[in-house]
């Protein structure tokens, strides 16, 4: 195990080369909540004064469906080039945090990302009305990245499965999830039957952020500051992103506001339709929202195969010190 001092030195060397100016690193602090990657906050001092960056590195183990940092870097560049509001990724670096792990720096964003504060904190009351249209615009930009425009983007049709038919792949993916649960789940079976019976026709595939929801974007006084957490980016159905933002768990107490707990559907759909140049079909979003709810309601193993206790309180059970092998989230 290398010490943080070694890491600070390597980061200082990397930044000195990048800025072509002497950089001294003041602190390197692990970011909390990064269960799937190693993330750090880097404070440094250079000729232009103090600066701050985030650093994201491949973790020792990754979750199914997640892409590595090199792919993430390419995805962020492609999305930014289309106008998506997301902080710039800089200086892809091999072996920076650990031998064999790729890392990159990200411009530091100031703001609030914690879901319950985004949806309810009084200080953001003026920001919330702007969010749905801003989120719609950024989603439309993300969805302008397509396999046709970016044939070499190193991502797969994951995590909702592979193949040319995202909806069918989603149904197959959810089938696998349900089959991992020993306890019979009649309501989930009814939902999956409904999804399978819809036979949603595929549209042209686009880049899908894959985890576009309240909690994964930063909000400031005037609204959206930037989207992050690109590790589940994949080629798929753009309506999956619109729907995931509306899944009930991301409303953080504001259940009457389906769009991430900050807005109503109609203006969000209208803003997306205008920015994307295609009208939103609410029935398609509904399909993906049902799929998203079913995905979120299905526990899946992170690693190993410990059996979680029965009930809907698994995340609580985990936070009290249960073995970290199970997660109700894709990223525990």
């Amino acid at each position: 195990m290398q010490s943080h001092d070694d890491l600070s030195h390597r980061i200082a060397d990397r930044l000195t080369a990048a800025f072509q100016a002497e950089i001294s690193v003041r602190s390197v602090r692990p970011l909390v909540g990064g269960a799937c990657q190693d993330g750090f906050r880097v404070d440094f001092e250079g000729p232009d004064g103090a600066g701050r960056l985030a650093l994201r590195s491949d973790a020792r183990s990754s979750l199914p469906g997640s892409i590595d940092r090199a792919a993430e870097f390419a995805v962020i560049e492609a999305a930014r080039a289309q106008g998506a509001l997301t902080p710039a990724a800089r200086w892809l670096s091999a072996d920076l945090v650990r031998p064999g792990a790729t890392a990159y720096f990200v411009d530091w964003l100031e703001g609030e990302a914690i879901g319950a504060r985004v949806t309810r904190h009084p200080a953001l009351a003026a920001a919330r009305p702007a969010l749905p249209a801003q989120l719609a615009t950024t989603l439309a930009a993300i969805h302008r990245v397509t396999p046709a425009t970016h044939p070499t983007l190193p991502i797969a049709r994951a995590p909702f499965g592979r193949g040319e038919h995202p909806a069918r792949a989603a149904v197959g993916f959810l089938r696998v999830l349900l089959d991992q649960v020993a306890r019979p789940r009649p309501a989930a079976e009814a939902a999956l039957r409904w999804l399978a019976d819809q036979r949603l026709p595929p549209g042209p595939p686009t880049l899908v952020h894959g985890d576009f929801r309240t909690g994964n974007f930063m909000v400031g006084p005037t609204g959206l500051v930037g989207v992050f957490d690109w590790e589940f980016a994949h080629w798929g159905d753009p309506d999956e992103d619109l729907a995931w933002l509306c899944v009930r768990d991301w409303r953080f107490g504001q259940v009457t506001l389906p769009v991430g707990g900050v807005g109503h559907r109609a203006p969000f759909y209208a803003a997306y339709g205008e920015a994307a140049g295609r009208p939103v079909d609410p029935a398609r979003v509904h399909f993906w929202e049902v799929a998203g709810n079913l995905r979120w309601g299905s526990p899946r193993p992170c690693r190993g195969s410990a059996t979680p206790p029965r009930g809907t309180t698994w995340s609580c059970w985990r936070s009290l010190g249960a073995p970290p092998r199970w997660s109700t989230r894709r990223c525990g």
Binding site: P186, A190, L320
Partner: protein, 137 residues
């Protein structure tokens, strides 16, 4: 012989103790969060102890009607095994769409009732109204 006070009453007392006396005395916010989680879990256990047996009996009665089977008297391992097997049968019937069409309404009502029962234990405050999303004023 029934214990006095009974399990739900003891668990209520535990939840109240954690929430009203332990929680306010904790300065460390991370530990405070875990105590809040523990308080919530004690509440879940209290409601499970209080409502669980009745919910299971009601669920079994509905399943018996849906599947045309006879349920054993509630309580005990044979009842638990019957309930698990009936749920497996309903799950496969819904998966394969083999329920008779005239049962669709009853099956849907059963799923909603079971959801309401589960939420009454795990999240009594959950808003289950289907029109929970209101259009803008």
């Amino acid at each position: 012989m029934a214990q006095t006070p009974d399990a739900p009453t003891l668990l209520d007392a535990l939840a109240r103790f954690l929430g009203e006396q332990v929680q306010p005395a904790i300065a460390d916010p991370r530990l405070g969060f875990r105590v809040r989680v523990a308080t919530y879990l004690a509440g879940v256990l209290a409601r499970e102890a209080r409502l669980g047996p009745r919910h299971a009996a009601d669920e079994a009665a509905r399943l018996a009607g849906l599947l045309g089977r006879e349920a054993p008297p509630p309580g005990g391992p044979p009842f638990d095994a019957w309930l698990a097997e009936a749920n497996r049968a309903l799950a496969s019937a819904l998966r394969d769409a083999t329920l008779p069409p005239e049962q669709a309404g009853a099956a849907r009502a059963h799923l909603f009732a079971t959801l309401r029962e589960a939420l009454a234990i795990s999240q009594p405050g959950f808003d289950l109204r289907l029109d929970v999303e209101r259009p803008p004023d």
